[in-house]
């Protein structure tokens, strides 16, 4: 297309001019081909990953207990006996992260969209987005070097005063427990949740807000009446997107958690839980044979879980889009 522009000025023969006048046909076809191809590649890659996981995981999924007995790190558990605690740990860490991150994100998003002066809002928006650019291994290092010693006195106090609640029983230093992992994850998923919620809040119809204010509502009442109901499904889908990231997070969990394979809610004790992704990273280097298959099978389960969570988030977003479109 770009090359077509100078051709007329060279006053060349007719065929050149004709080609210059109808670049659309070829260009359209090429571009349509490229973009279709790109779309197909995504599907093929996704299918290839799914097929690879299924193919490599199959031996472990159908393996007998005797086959699995030779895998050292499973310590005699059955496939589901091994996966269940990992699945539980993965979901538990993500849920802790969400419980902390979602209210915080709503607050930050509201501040940026409705409270802060415009210039401050912009700077703050950038800063939150910047958090997303920090590699997870840095969060892991930060978790070990700074967060763990910082949380230590707080956790001591928690277990001393609220230790009768099983959730907070028997803290042991250093703070390498599910609570710490969940907090690190919370900070890691904060940017994506905040960014999504902020966009949704900014889309609140101006008329709704002004109508609310006109009826004599304060700013907080306006937010409660107009912004939050409008953004509810957006908040849910943002949380799901964040959860999708938290579920698959590897390095940070690997570095800040003393892992274990139990199903319980002792958030302050070490060696109780482990997430699937961190477990794969920890065990794969020394795994061989059936052990690799087992780890890939856990990867398949994580794939299905994140896929489901993301699908659900998309579905909620799509529903909201229709709703606002009808408005």
């Amino acid at each position: 297309m770009a090359t077509a522009a100078p051709t007329p000025s060279t006053s060349g023969p007719a065929p050149v001019v004709r080609a210059g006048r109808t670049p659309g046909k070829l260009g359209n076809r090429v571009f349509a081909g490229i973009s279709t191809g790109a779309g197909v590649v995504i599907l093929v890659v996704l299918a290839a990953v799914a097929i690879f996981l299924l193919y490599r995981a199959w031996p472990a999924l159908v393996a007998t207990r005797e086959d699995l007995a030779e895998v050292g790190f499973m310590q005699g558990r059955s496939m589901w006996g091994y996966v269940a605690p990992l699945l539980f740990g993965t979901v538990l860490s993500s849920v802790i992260a969400l419980v902390v991150a979602v209210p915080l994100s709503i607050g930050i998003a509201l501040f940026i969209s409705h409270y802060a002066p415009r210039r401050l809002a912009q700077v703050l928006g950038y800063l939150v987005d910047l958090l997303a650019a920090i590699p997870s291994v840095i969060f892991g290092l930060w978790g070990i070097q700074w967060l763990q010693p910082t949380l230590d006195p707080f956790f001591r106090w928690l277990t001393d005063t609220l230790g009768w609640i099983p959730l907070f029983a028997d803290y042991q230093a250093p703070a390498r427990n599910m609570m710490t992992a969940g907090l690190v994850l919370a900070i890691m998923i904060l940017p994506i949740i905040t960014a999504t919620i902020r966009e949704v809040f900014l889309q609140t119809p101006r008329l709704h807000e002004e109508a609310s204010l006109a009826l004599g509502a304060t700013r907080w009442e306006m937010i409660r009446q107009a912004v939050l109901p409008f953004g509810r499904s957006g908040v849910i889908s943002a949380a799901m997107l964040g959860m999708g990231r938290a579920l698959g997070e590897t390095m940070a969990v690997l570095m800040v958690l003393s892992p274990g394979y139990l199903i319980n809610f002792f958030l302050l004790q070490p060696g109780q839980h482990q997430s699937i992704a961190a477990n794969i990273a920890a065990q794969l280097p020394e795994a061989s044979g059936m052990g690799v298959d087992v780890l890939i099978a856990t990867g398949l389960i994580l794939f299905v879980l994140t896929f489901g969570v993301n699908l659900f988030a998309r579905w909620v977003i799509a529903r909201r889009a229709e709703f606002s479109g009808a408005n």
Binding site: G72, Q75, Q148, Q172, R176, G260, G271, A287, S288
Partner: protein
């Protein structure tokens, strides 16, 4: 033995032509070229290895030293872990491997195919003491003494306080704090864990009932991934105790281990001594110099918690360059120069192998040839 030592010395000078015959192991011209090449700077090409991360630091030192002498050879070592290293070696991805545990029967059978009809060579070229490390900043004793039963009790969770009588009795001169003991283990499958539990199970089997395992058998414990994770956790709280490659102990305190009537802190000499005091493994051959570590030894001056990481290669390769390069590299690793280099505290802090072992290693290396 003297002939072998001579061969080695000659190889170091890059002039081994007349000694090959005297070893009686040379198998024709290919062997001669291969052995001539060791350290002479005539080698070229590239060889890749992978495996145990325990040897990584030492291997980096060896590769640097070897490539100083042979600038045309490009050597890489990928610390993928022992399991992956063995797998990649057997499927032909890499030419040599490092592994903390010896090859099992199945792997040895697969090794015949991989080695073009030859055999797998396993050499104990990396001997590293495992230190039992603790974090008690307020105790200024150089070492805390513990015998095997006490260490086992601590890691079993039976001895839970630093001023427990079992520890106090062995340390009459040390003022021990009233602090809970926090045992720390490796969270990943690890050769260090395997060697440490092997020691506990052999030297204190009555107390340590979990046997020799790669995966820590007790749940609900503090743990860290890889050696650096272990060090981080032990450093992260007061009263912790763990185990790690001795070269990584840094400022942390180390336990002097009870052997016989003495308490022996780790040292390269004491670690090498226990390997020499150990018998060969049952399935060891002239090519596979695997040893059955005498971890329950009572011989004075030996430090029994040792990790041996084997260097694995083939007795036959399908081309001359590979055979000569691998042989040259392993000869450098086994040489006094190579072993001393790895023993530097800033390289790996390993224990140099004895001259006796070096002789047998050289005999095995002399049998590396080209297939066919």
């Amino acid at each position: 033995m003297s002939a072998l030592a001579l061969t080695l010395a000659a190889c170091g000078n890059g002039d081994a032509s007349e000694d090959d015959a005297s070893t009686g192991t040379g198998t024709g011209t290919t062997a001669d070229t291969a052995s001539n090449a060791g350290g002479s700077g005539e080698l070229s090409g590239s060889i890749a290895g992978s495996g145990a991360s325990s040897q990584e630091a030492a291997m980096q030192g060896w590769i640097a030293g070897f490539m100083d002498q042979n600038p045309d050879v490009d050597v890489t070592y990928d610390p993928t872990g022992s399991g992956t290293g063995r797998e990649q070696f057997l499927n032909g991805t890499v030419l040599f491997a490092g592994t903390d545990s010896t090859l099992d029967e199945e792997e040895l059978a697969a090794g015949v195919d991989r080695c073009f009809g030859g055999e797998v060579i396993e050499l104990p070229l990396y001997i590293s003491p495992i230190a039992v490390i603790y974090n008690l900043p307020d105790v200024d004793a150089e070492h805390i003494n513990m015998d095997a039963e006490t260490i086992a009790g601590v890691f079993m969770g039976e001895i839970t306080s630093w001023d427990d009588p079992a520890i106090a009795e062995a340390n009459p001169d040390v003022e021990l704090p009233d602090l809970p003991i926090i045992p720390v283990n490796r969270s990943d499958d690890s050769g260090t864990t395997e060697n440490f539990t092997a020691y506990l199970s052999e030297a204190a089997g009555d107390v340590w009932t979990h046997g020799e395992v790669e995966t820590w058998p007790i749940s609900g414990t503090q743990s860290g991934a890889q050696t650096s994770g272990m060090i981080d956790v032990v450093s992260g709280a007061e009263g912790t105790i763990g185990y790690a490659d001795a070269s990584r102990a840094g400022d942390l305190g180390t336990i002097a281990v009870g052997v016989g009537d003495d308490y022996v802190p780790f040292s390269p000499e004491a670690a090498a001594a226990v390997v020499d005091a150990s018998p060969a493994a049952e399935d060891a051959t002239d090519l596979r110099l695997t040893v059955d570590l005498a971890r329950d030894t009572t011989e004075a001056g030996t430090y029994p918690i040792v990790l041996i990481s084997y260097s694995v290669a083939c007795s036959q390769y399908d081309n001359e360059a590979d055979a000569a390069n691998v042989k040259g590299l392993f000869e450098y690793i086994a040489s006094p120069e190579g072993q001393d280099r790895a023993a530097q505290p800033d390289v790996a802090g390993s224990a140099p192998i004895s001259d006796d072992l070096r002789g047998r290693v050289q005999a095995a290396l002399d049998r590396i040839t080209v297939a066919g």
